[in-house]
């Protein structure tokens, strides 16, 4: 009881308030503590979600204030699901998701496996590797745009240095073939450390005695790798994939700064497309339906995946 600040604060509290606080039951305190958070989330997450659902059945346009929105039933949903352009956006998103996750898992796991040898200075270098992941994706996208510039960009220079191709013979951001890969490269550069960190935690969770037992049984290193390391890291790896999957499904800032969805719509991921519909074409009702479809897709895929993940964990 030697904390002067706390004592002073306690003295400063009016006796009536103090008595009231003292008299509160645990149950009441629990609700007082949780209520503000729930209220904030209801106001800024759930209320908007419900509003989006309602808007998705109308033809509302947010830039025309004086026109009453009409109820048009499921027409927005029908239009979206039969629109071939949106399927192209979905394909672009799928390409982005598949390759970023594949590359990040491969490189991330390999790095973790190497770092797990605990060479001298491994902690320092791990911190260095992790840096890109914490930076602002919009600013990162913006400066990669600089690196990707044909003629002056460092990326083009390095590639031409090693391949002896003409520096102006390819444009990462300007060509239909290369642009989808340009966003995969930047995302992989940025987020491989994330997968690496989680894999590293997985590797560190394997107790030494399992390997020792395998050594005594004369299991080869290769065999140890496939029968001990891989299965024990798998739940961690799956968790990393879940996080990256959800994040990249929502991907907006990095790609918008890097390519703006172009050239044409080759890198127009669903979030970018949604932003165009909602805030450039101002088709609010239509975009709301689009948002709901995306949300249901993420939520559905994520829940199926979590079930699979739990099964792997139980094994």
């Amino acid at each position: 009881m030697t904390d002067p600040i706390a004592t002073r604060a306690a003295k400063a509290t009016p006796p009536r308030v103090a008595r009231q606080i003292k008299g509160l039951s645990d149950r009441a305190i629990a609700w007082i503590f949780v209520a503000p958070t729930i209220f904030l989330l209801l106001a800024i997450n759930i209320f908007p979600l419900i509003w989006t659902i309602q808007l998705s059945f109308t033809n509302y346009k947010a830039n025309r204030l004086n026109r009453e929105p009409e109820f048009i039933g499921l027409r927005n949903y029908e239009r979206i699901l039969t629109d071939s352009d949106i399927w192209l956006n979905m394909q672009a998103t799928a390409h982005f998701l598949f390759w970023t996750i594949a590359l990040q898992v491969l490189i991330g796991f390999a790095l973790a496996w190497l770092i797990h040898r605990n060479f001298k200075g491994s902690n320092f270098w791990t911190t260095v590797i992790v840096l890109p992941m914490m930076l602002s994706p919009a600013v990162v996208g913006n400066f990669w745009k600089f690196l990707y510039q044909p003629q002056i960009g460092l990326f083009n220079y390095i590639v031409t240095f090693f391949t002896r191709a003409e520096p102006s013979s390819f444009e990462m951001l300007g060509s239909v073939q290369l642009a989808p890969w340009s966003i995969v490269i930047v995302d992989t550069w940025m987020w491989t450390p994330f997968v690496m960190l989680i894999c590293l935690a997985g590797l560190r969770s394997i107790p030494d005695y399992i390997y020792e037992a395998a050594e005594i049984d004369r299991a080869s290193k290769l065999r140890q790798f496939f029968t001990i390391t891989v299965p024990m890291v798998l739940p961690f790896l799956m968790l990393a994939v879940l996080f990256r999957g959800i994040e990249n499904f929502k991907m907006f800032d990095l790609v918008v700064q890097l390519t703006g969805g172009g050239p044409g719509s080759t890198t127009e991921l669903t979030s970018i497309n949604l932003k165009r519909e909602a805030f450039e074409k101002w088709r609010t009702g239509y975009a709301s339906a689009y948002a709901i479809i995306l949300f249901v897709t993420v939520f559905g895929l994520a829940s199926i995946y979590v079930k699979a993940l739990n099964k792997v964990k139980e094994r």
Binding site: I21, V34, T37, P48, F119, T127, I152, L274
Partner: protein
């Protein structure tokens, strides 16, 4: 021979692993190093081919980042000698500094909104996390999952109704509006992380305090809070970094008064196109604090980025 040494990697394999990892780390640092170098180049050096690694450093990019300039006639320039070193840099283009740019303001907005929302998320988050950790709350698991699931929604999807709601409430392009919004996004992270940290504090501490005559409130702020201080601090940095880096909401909901730095930096325009050294200078100033915080956070990094799903 101790049992441990069987699984200890050999010296050579350590050496190989170290070389590979360090090579990767160095390659991955090239873009960051390049952007920092570019900040100290003149516009001509920044776009020269082949790219220049050795160049004469100048603060031009930083001067252009923080000032607005106009071109002046030779007579005017001759009549008014340069006032300071910054002015001198600008004179080589026949220009004079006429005032500060918007960058300072945008950076300051990032600071206010970042710290404001972090404070609020931590305040509300600690209370909620304590309640979830210590009390029996009906449907606690469902509520916690609900709190988490709010993060799965693409920001653009929630942005539509929030845009409409803020327009009606007069919260568009205000600091308060952005602080509330970032708090709502961050609170899920705060509750999940802090619950993990508070779960690790033995209940016996508080029970002992309660027996000593403390009330629940006193036990909370005199026993639990000091114990959770490290956890609270690292959670705060995670919230701060998120708010600092956020772009999608900022670009859609702010324009003049409350715009933060991320939507502003890419729009820095120089004479004849993008002023890359100024953009690079802005990016450097903006990214450095996060790099420093990341190094401070390294112990809690994994826990923070996985919502406490993986603890180390």
């Amino acid at each position: 021979m101790s049992a441990h040494s069987i699984t200890e990697p050999s010296g050579r394999s350590k050496w190989v692993a170290g070389t590979l990892v360090i090579t990767y780390a160095l390659i991955t640092m090239i873009p960051l190093a390049w952007i920092m170098l570019t900040g100290f180049k003149s516009p001509a050096d920044a776009i020269s081919y082949p790219p220049k690694v050795v160049f004469e450093p100048t603060l031009e990019g930083y001067v252009n980042l923080f000032t607005t300039r106009t071109r002046q006639t030779d007579d005017f320039l001759a009549a008014n000698p340069p006032e300071n070193w910054a002015d001198e840099i600008v004179r080589q283009y026949d220009m004079v500094i006429v005032g500060p740019s918007k960058f300072g303001e945008r950076f300051f907005n990032s600071v206010i909104i970042g710290f404001g929302s972090t404070f609020l998320s931590i305040f509300l988050g600690t209370l909620a996390a304590y309640a979830f950790s210590r009390f029996k709350i009906p449907l606690a698991d469902d509520l916690l999952f609900f709190i988490l699931s709010t993060r799965m929604m693409p920001p653009i999807a929630v942005a539509i109704p929030i845009f409409l709601m803020y327009r009606n409430l007069g919260l568009s392009d205000t600091h308060l509006g952005m602080i509330l919004l970032y708090t709502a996004v961050n609170i899920s992270l705060a509750v999940w992380l802090l619950k993990g940290f508070i779960d690790e504090i033995p209940r016996e501490y508080e029970e002992a305090a309660l027996i000593d005559g403390y009330t629940r409130f006193q036990a909370f702020y005199k026993v639990v809070l000091p114990q959770a201080a490290t956890g609270i601090a690292s959670t705060a940095i995670f919230c701060l970094i998120f708010a600092w880096n956020e772009y999608a909401f900022a670009v859609l909901l702010t324009s003049a008064t409350a715009q933060t730095a991320p939507p502003f930096i890419p729009t820095i325009i120089g004479v004849g196109g993008l002023d890359w050294p100024a953009v690079a200078a802005g990016a450097t100033i903006f990214l450095l604090p996060v790099m420093i915080f990341t190094i401070l956070l390294r112990k809690h990094l994994l826990r923070g980025i996985t919502f406490g799903a993986v603890r180390k």
